[in-house]
Symmetry: C2
Amino acid sequence: MKKFLPCLLLIVPGLRAAAQTAPENLVQYVKPIIGTQRMGHTYPGATVPFGMVQLSPDTDTLPYEMNGKYNKDVYKYCAGYQYDDKTIVGFSHTHFSGTGHSDLGDFLVMPTVGELKLNPGQAHQPRSGFRSSFSHSNELAEAGYYKVRLDDYNITAELTATNRVGFHQYSFPKSDQSHIILDLMYGIYNYDDKNTWTFVRIENDTLVTGYRQTNGWGRTRTVYFAMAFSKPFYQYGNKKFDKSQVYRGFWGKFDQTKNFPEFAGKQIRAYFDFKTEEGEKIMIKFALSSVSTDGALRNLRAEAPGWDFNQVKKQAQDQWNKELNRVVVQSGSRDEKENFYTSVYHSFLSPITYTDADGQYRGLDQNIHQADGFTNYTIFSLWDTYRALHPLFNVLQPKRNADMVQSMMAHYDQSVHHMLPVWSHYANENWCMIGYHSVSVIADAVIKGNAGFDASKALDACVTSARNGWFEGLNHYMKLGYVPEDKSGSSVSKTLEYAYDDWCIAQMAKKLGRNDVYEEFIHRSAYWKNVYDASIGYMRPKMSDGTFRKEFDVLSTHNQGFIEGNAWNYSLYVPHAPTEMIEMMGGKKPFTAHLDSLFTMHLPDKYFAETEDITRDGIIGNYVHGNEPSHHVPYLYNWTDQPWKTQERVRMILKKQFRPTPDGLGGNDDCGQMSAWYIFTALGFYPVAPGSDEYAIGSPSVDGASIQLENGKMFTIEVKNNSDKNVYVQHLTLNGKPLNRLFLKHEEILNGGTLGFVMGPKPAKK
Amino acid sequence: MKKFLPCLLLIVPGLRAAAQTAPENLVQYVKPIIGTQRMGHTYPGATVPFGMVQLSPDTDTLPYEMNGKYNKDVYKYCAGYQYDDKTIVGFSHTHFSGTGHSDLGDFLVMPTVGELKLNPGQAHQPRSGFRSSFSHSNELAEAGYYKVRLDDYNITAELTATNRVGFHQYSFPKSDQSHIILDLMYGIYNYDDKNTWTFVRIENDTLVTGYRQTNGWGRTRTVYFAMAFSKPFYQYGNKKFDKSQVYRGFWGKFDQTKNFPEFAGKQIRAYFDFKTEEGEKIMIKFALSSVSTDGALRNLRAEAPGWDFNQVKKQAQDQWNKELNRVVVQSGSRDEKENFYTSVYHSFLSPITYTDADGQYRGLDQNIHQADGFTNYTIFSLWDTYRALHPLFNVLQPKRNADMVQSMMAHYDQSVHHMLPVWSHYANENWCMIGYHSVSVIADAVIKGNAGFDASKALDACVTSARNGWFEGLNHYMKLGYVPEDKSGSSVSKTLEYAYDDWCIAQMAKKLGRNDVYEEFIHRSAYWKNVYDASIGYMRPKMSDGTFRKEFDVLSTHNQGFIEGNAWNYSLYVPHAPTEMIEMMGGKKPFTAHLDSLFTMHLPDKYFAETEDITRDGIIGNYVHGNEPSHHVPYLYNWTDQPWKTQERVRMILKKQFRPTPDGLGGNDDCGQMSAWYIFTALGFYPVAPGSDEYAIGSPSVDGASIQLENGKMFTIEVKNNSDKNVYVQHLTLNGKPLNRLFLKHEEILNGGTLGFVMGPKPAKK
């Protein structure tokens, strides 16, 4: 019977939507354009969930350095696209989502007509290069699909993708001079000097292969490609922009700029020429691989054998719909649905797939490995994502999260530093930010029973990483009980985060019965106390002689012993021991007042100016939501006598910090961490301390939700009397029985059932 | 019984030499130092037959370009070593033998003591850098073994090798500051700009891995390594000499110059520090791979599991002895034995092995391939080696030659140009010189019954290559019957060589019963006639309008339509049709006089100055032995009525052009072509037209020879009454019966038997 089903569907497609098993169309609520203006650093292009390819328009081409100085503007282009720009330079195949550092932008493709231009030109000089003006009125960005009209050429560009293949469709005007440019110089940041090498082979008149090697954030990074055209080009060529090319020798024998099928260099742009009829569509399938051009070709054949753009688009959107349906929310507000599902979309973008279709991938040692029984992932922005994104995966994507842990373990096995990843980046470790937060991700998975990996071996890797004396002040930390500021910068942030990470290791050790490890790390987990200056009530940088540093400004983020946060915010970072922290800070009552002041005080402009990665909107009082160290802070009221203030604050933050507009994100989405915060918070609970099995109860903004668990069970959230004013939880029930505590346990989710909220306009002060 | 034999040998090793099966010790006659002075361009270091590693001292570090201009001196260093130099900069792992173009020199290792210097310094400024003075009196170069004392450091360096592993042994003085430098910047030519990227990982305190990527003659070339130390280094570090390094970002977090186990850049030198006792030996095993660092490690483990330097040296020399014993000559002159066996040594250096121990290799498409049933080779300098080296392999190394053809076929399969190799160079095609002489190598193997490959497929590859219109004037050649000088330079050389190659294809097609191919190419093989100018009696450049070019100088090699030869010499290049050529040039008698004048005329100095690749000694009259196009010329007398002049000339050339001294080679050895000419000629016969099954009879210089064929048979050459004066063949017998012709057939060799020469002081003019 199954065999005939597709046939039936073809005949009476209308039946499908009506079928009970059909997932709700949630793709309609995804707006990839959210966050593309200002600081969100998201991209609007086409990708599938956790896809290797992120095919997206790029709107400028700025160098990382100009005249030897860091070019500040490059920061805007972390995702290649800025909503305010008026021109598109092309469509490249790899993009970070929401990072605070730029890279990628591999293999820019641009269709043009008329005179061949091989320079992108300047945004302020129309038609000075191959870039084209466009307008948002002719632009459509959906999950898995992007469309734009390139006004200078009267070309409509459409993009979709499979996991490893970007699929382009360009509708040309009639022209004898239609071109498709493949720009191998382009990269996100560092337009001129980042390539170490690029190589291209014209295999035949519809197939091109090659690779790009870059230095930079990933110090030795290689991406391979296979590019197939739906129509043969009738001629092709390339131009080199290398400042120096040392060896010319025998190359002079042939004209290598035109119809010579192999070229290489640091700075190359290639072009392919066509004659097109009015409206003629030329399609490109552009496959990536971390392994080889053979790998890219295998990926291409495995995932995109045909030339039906609409079918590939449908597959991409079906995939999205399936993933989005893992959590279905009720809300009377379309804005809220757009916020919610776009957050789910953003949180399902990275880490990205980093195995070829056959399971091969490039390891940290630059050798080719075979992923044995797991999908290997890369792009682990762990300082961000350990907080809420990986905990979210333990609810919505446990299988993938276990594979991510296996990817971390592979990274560890291949590391000459004997370290779990800090920031895993295309077979590179870019060492961005601080801490060894892989241990949090691993502990959270182990504690929550999602250990589809060798937990004992993983614990050993955690311990080895956490004992690695050469790593950023760790030798001092282990000896002195804190990182001394005169030995290693951002010392307080490091001390606090190491202590939390150590607690994670202890939790895992306890569960695995490894008492010696537990003792060692539970002891270290209290080291946060060593940087608390009781005389002022804040964490404060301490010197190796045991004295606190004299110069100190609790509002400044500049050189005060912290990173991406000031002492005021960061002093609240003891997620694994809030009770003790509050006690140390004077007890519940003064702490509550202290916390209140965070949200209500005025942060002078001079401090905002030095706050990274966020817009002015990303700050509420002195509470910085646009950066991560405060993400758990609004939930700390749960450990005071005024938990209803958590409910109030989180609803306020949801409202202020997330809007379904291009400028709707107050700070970097940070590979989905910001979005994961939104999702948890909107659902009414949050993992204050990953590595614990408890979630702090907040205040759901949605009117209800159903989480379809991978174990087949359903966890439902019912919310009664919810409204913008009714943000206070009046009653809480679990499976119909009163729940008289401020936390939810992970197994209560896993068991399926119903969490019931009754909301009201006033705090339930009991 | 066999089991106990090694044991017996250990007890009474003296017995071994006496055993009948023991091969003669021929290694004693190999002098790798021959050709290291001036133009021979050979290297003195350690390698095994056709070995991937050529571990050899390098004596200078010159850039390819200086101030934007080609640096002429770099040419001297094609093999890295010049005998007249007084300093050694280190020992690198890859070297061409005898080429007229420089490249390679991967991974220079240098031991030093005292203050750490990471700059090589200047040859004329003692102790200005890490280079050391040395003297030839403390130097020993044998087949598979090299030893030198580094005077500045009182270090004795010894080198040996397996196929894929260079084995170093350094005897240090007592020092607290002993260093081993790994210079990744060094390369033969282009010291500064050739690297596109290098990468190093300190796996542990005795193992280092990494790779080097270069641009240049091979435009995208990668070599991987694994470097194992016999003693742990106690610290290590690196210094970067990159002119620009774009991205520093998070790298500032750690000190990456010292004890940081991963580094990368364009220009890096690393060092490893030891404390040594007087005379303490530190050994290094340095494995290469074209595949990956994993591949290099596998090669290391497969070939050099232990740390016994002397055992590895013995294995290397045993291998050489085995290969040298394929042809054993009798001679009363030690000089002649040294010339002969060093020629055999030089002719067994390249092509080099280009598969890992497990059969994987990097293909021309830069993908990793598995060699199925053959060893893949690279370094095919085919314009040189098709003449005598590959024909020599069809006698002495048929199995390897068949594998070389398979390597060419793999190259063809991987070529986007759909071309058999012109100059195959580490997974690159460097397009050096002219012609498509792979077809000659393939045809010679097929005609001589050495087709351990798919001959029909190989013929198709030959035909496709020969019909490739874009290749250097081939479209014009196919249309007009010659390459017009105004369309493609060196047009006469091309026309003559294409015609010969076409004849090769025709011979193969005939044997394989492919008549259509035969007809097409036998027709093309006569195109040499189209560039003969009867009015002057020379081949002459013709324009596309059918007229001969007016400006013409038969003695000049400059821009006259020829390459590496003048019109005088090159006009004699019709190896496949000497009879017709002689007829066209006026018949036997005038041709003989013409040929005589070649050897007796005086070439004015101005013409010598423009003759490439050879010393003054490399020229006899106007006969240029130091370049290849004339190599068959002395044998052309066999097609006149005065064949005894061939006998006279070749003996004279053997004597003048080959001496067992550093300056003993009159021109580049050219990957063994010059040596192969020597071997054939010394044995008394020569393959004038590879692709034919006939050898022209000359005059053997040896007193006898036994060729041990791979088919198990023995072909013996007996020479009676030979002497420096008795250079004329009086009688010739084959297996005791008179041989009344001037050629020997290949199957007569294959059948085994005896070729008998009786020599005398006067020509046998009959």
